[in-house]
Amino acid sequence: MADQTISIQSATAETPLVRLVLMAIAFLFLALFLFLPLVVVVSEAFRNGVGAWFQAILDPDALASIRLTLLVAAISVPLNMVFGVAAAWAIAKFEFRGKAFLITLIDLPFSVSPVISGLVYVLLFGSGSVLGPWLKGWGIEILFAVPGITLATIFVTFPFVARELIPLMQDQGSADEEAALSLGASGWQTFLHVTLPNIRWGLLYGVLLCNARAMGEFGAVSVVSGHIRGLTDTMPLHIEILYNEYNFAAAFAVASLLVGLALVTLVLKTAIERRYAD
């Protein structure tokens, strides 16, 4: 499009003025709601200099929270990924009754308040429940420990991969899979060699989003964490603690780490996609 010789106004493009206005609106909007918050986080993080930033990150409690966050993400993201792939396979490759209902259920966690997402596990595993004390009797801690935090995270990030894959796989249909089967491939080989490569970008994208959200979840985790410093505080919770200690620079330093991680993964994903997508 770029090097078209425009002597008449193209009917399918806006006038340069309109285009300018639209871009201005978009940029202004993004600036107000996305970039400036980003700038705030980063500038606050480095308010006291790079040294202070490193100090905040290398604080043992901060490191513990980073470790915990990574651990929780490392458990919940693969689980949700496997679920997402399985659900998308079942939904996209087969016709069965109640599909729309199933899809709605998969969407549901998006619309559940994080407070409730945490609460449901408190109700399920709290001392007042049947399950909690019973598990405790076996020495299994759910609430206020890694399992509870992981469960809450799984709940909140549940739909990301499936949501990304379902429309993609529905669009792609089953012809490739049928071809592979007719060539003698087993179901597993078909998935591995044919389906997976076809959905890799969608999968990657879903996993990245899922991961970013898993590491950033605050509300739900806050309810089930117990906020034990250095033990059950994830990064977002640690940020809150620092903030409440009037240690703003440190709070934003840890926050900037999350932002940085998110940005790097998102940009990386864009870059990879651009290079390898045909």
Binding site: V122, F125, G126, S127, G128, G132, K136, L143, F144, G226, H227, I228, R229, G230, L231, I241, Y243, N244, E245, Y246, F248
Partner: protein
């Protein structure tokens, strides 16, 4: 042996316990040779109590309100019903009170509770529903009004109601309210824990704020208690008890004073620190019939606090 203690506390005690824990670890180690790790959990007082109720394995709770510990005792039975009698001063090793924090030079000329409902005055306090400190704020205001209106309940209600109409933001916790007042520069006066107010002066802007002491305030008694159910199970009864008792020791009391808490035994604290606490007339929660009565009357669902927020329209 190695021990791990979990102290579930409320927001403004972070700095105090950070120091006290180290103190206790060292002294316990010196005394018994045991290694102790002390874990802290901070948050709004009510939320912390709820976590313990839901199974957070706290060895000790050091909360903002007696009511919160009562709730744990009632709902779980993990704390003995007679917990208040176990330690001196109703299990409150330190007390505090509610003061006003105003901006430098006190531009609105606020000197007492009556000034808070003047036109154009904005008051910052957290939400009594979610913040322990805020309940003390509420009771202090109520106490002053009772005195001012000679116990005329409708006038008292009217005053408190007016007061909250001057509150533009109800943060969920004391720390949030402080941040709003200090960092966001919203409001003319912050109703704060005395220790929070001093901390704000120290940490957030030397010279930017002033403390105003009202004519009447309340003696806030943040209590501490052993969670028997948990310590028995974990075998930490002895050390947890020692941990709480240590708060009453000379070291403990001095630390409390240094962190702007009024020690139970002022004579044990550094006199230098004690000079910072202004004299003021304090009522206590017992004047409201104790927390067992005050909590449901004022703060339960449908209580007085909810009533004053009932929309008039």
């Amino acid at each position: 042996a190695d021990f791990t203690l979990l102290n579930v506390s409320y927001d403004p005690t972070r700095e105090l316990y950070k120091e006290y824990n180290q103190l206790f670890i060292d002294s316990w180690n010196a005394k018994t040779g045991d290694k102790v790790t002390i874990r802290m959990s901070h948050g709004g007082s009510g939320k912390q109590a709820r976590s313990v109720i839901d199974g957070l394995e706290a060895d000790v709770v050091t909360l903002a309100l007696e009511a919160d510990i009562n709730a744990i005792a009632e709902k779980t039975g993990k704390i003995s019903a007679a917990w208040r009698e176990r330690l001196p001063n109703n299990s409150a090793p330190y007390t505090s009170t509610i003061v006003f924090l105003v901006r430098k030079g006190n531009p609105k000329g606020i000197s007492d509770w009556a000034d808070l409902v003047r036109d154009g005055v904005e008051v910052i306090t957290p939400n009594p529903k979610t913040s322990g400190g805020a309940r003390w704020n509420f009771l202090a205001a109520w106490a002053w009004a009772q005195k001012a209106y000679k116990g005329d309940e409708p006038s008292v209600r009217q005053y408190v109601s007016d007061l909250f109409r001057h509150v533009p933001i109800l943060d969920t916790g004391a720390r949030g309210a402080t941040t709003t007042f200090v960092r966001r520069a919203i409001g003319d006066v912050l109703l704060a824990w005395e220790n929070e107010a001093f901390l704000a002066l120290d940490e957030l802007g030397e010279g930017a704020f002033e403390i105003v002491v009202p004519s009447v305030s309340i003696k806030a008694e943040p209590p501490v208690a052993l969670v028997d159910g948990n310590v028995e199970h974990k075998g930490t009864t002895e050390i947890a008890t020692a941990y709480l008792e240590g708060l009453y020791s000379e070291d403990g009391q001095r630390l409390a004073a240094r962190h702007y808490y009024r020690p139970y035994q002022p004579e044990l604290a550094d006199p230098q620190d004690m000079t910072r606490f202004p004299d003021l007339k304090l009522v206590t929660v017992d004047d409201f019939g104790g927390w067992k009565k005050a909590q449901p009357t004022f703060f339960a669902d449908g209580g007085i606090f909810d009533q004053i927020y009932k929309p008039e329209r």
